[in-house]
């Protein structure tokens, strides 16, 4: 049973490790989908939203992770 649980957890972990990153990617895809539906004459607009949205999400997530690491570092220094 624990093996089945481990397999399911691993399967979910394949795609979602940082929940906020996954949510932001899905939000970008939804935005691109809305753009494709609303302005079908300019399909590249959806492509641009998708590409630059994902790049932006990646940069923002890395920036947040770095900021979090700095806060933890400061807290550790303060405690010691």
């Amino acid at each position: 049973m624990s093996t089945v649980g481990a397999v399911l957890r691993e399967l979910a972990g394949l795609f979602v490790e940082d929940g906020s990153l996954a949510l932001e990617i899905v939000a970008v895809v939804v935005l691109a989908g809305i753009s494709a539906a609303l302005i079908p004459d300019v399909p590249l607009a959806a492509g641009a939203i998708l590409l630059f949205g994902c790049l932006g999400v990646l940069l923002a997530n890395v920036g947040c992770s770095r900021a979090l690491a700095r806060i933890k570092q400061r807290e550790a220094t303060f405690k010691s």
Partner: protein
């Protein structure tokens, strides 16, 4: 030209991703073999491989029933989630924000855990060892299967993607058999960075196709996306690198 680029990049992505997964599986199989011998380690690994084959044989034909357009969108989103996850982790590791994955340490941890289990449950030790080997091969193998299916679906690239994955698995298995210790010198983070870039590029392409985007240059746009992700990833790693930054646990 575009088709060649697509085939080549699918094969390379499958090879590199499978290399990383195979090294992780091998580390655990070797730990099992070191503690309890090759018999339970080999039995568990073969059982894991057989279950993987069954999963592929059972699920493979089902994919043909799904409309291509929906399949492209679903696979594209999954590739984006998977590739961006790897890329983010590789950037943070490269910048020193999170620690690098250490196969030697993973081997030592797994060996210690198995020894402890063997001490407590001596009668069932071989069974537990085989189960550890089985789980490692099955879980890492599932990632390989997903990558191969995601890279090949709808484009008839199953053969090159499978060949890339199989070559990586055979290479790692062969090297593991020769050196009989974890392949600690494999530059895992560099590989993860490269694979993350490629999978994210494929993810953008497939998701866009699923949404009806006609990419300029068709298949060749994947190369441009990969170049863009690589440039942004490297820039992000450089910006996030901080000499005094302490790593997150």
């Amino acid at each position: 030209m575009g088709s060649l680029a697509h085939t080549g990049s699918a094969m390379t992505a499958a090879f590199l991703a499978s290399l990383v997964e195979a090294v992780e599986a091998l580390t655990i199989v070797l730990a099992v073999a070191t503690v309890r011998g090759w018999r339970p380690a080999g039995f568990g690994a073969i059982a894991g491989l057989m279950l993987l084959v069954l999963i592929v044989v059972a699920l493979g034909p089902l994919l043909d029933q799904v409309p291509l357009h929906l399949l492209q969108l679903a696979i594209g989103i999954l590739l984006l989630l998977f590739g961006m996850r790897w890329l983010r982790k590789a950037i943070l590791r490269s910048a020193g924000v999170i620690p690098l994955h250490d196969e030697a340490m993973a081997f030592a941890t797994e060996t210690a855990e198995l020894r402890e289990k063997a001490r407590r449950y001596d009668a069932r030790a071989d069974w537990l060892a085989a189960l550890a080997s089985f789980k490692a091969v099955l879980l890492e193998g599932l990632e390989v299967v997903f990558i191969v299916i995601a890279l090949s679906t709808g484009r008839g690239l199953l053969v090159p993607a499978s060949a890339g994955a199989l070559a990586a698995c055979l290479l790692v298995a062969g090297m593991g058999f020769v050196v009989r210790r974890p392949l600690a010198r494999v530059p895992e983070n560099t590989l993860k960075f490269a694979v993350g870039v490629m999978l994210a590029a494929f993810g953008i392409f497939w998701t866009g196709e699923g949404l009806g985007v006609a990419w300029p240059g068709a298949d060749l746009s994947i190369v441009a996306f990969a170049a863009l992700f690589l440039a942004v990833g490297r820039a992000a790693a450089a910006l996030a690198r901080c000499p005094s930054a302490e790593t997150l646990p």
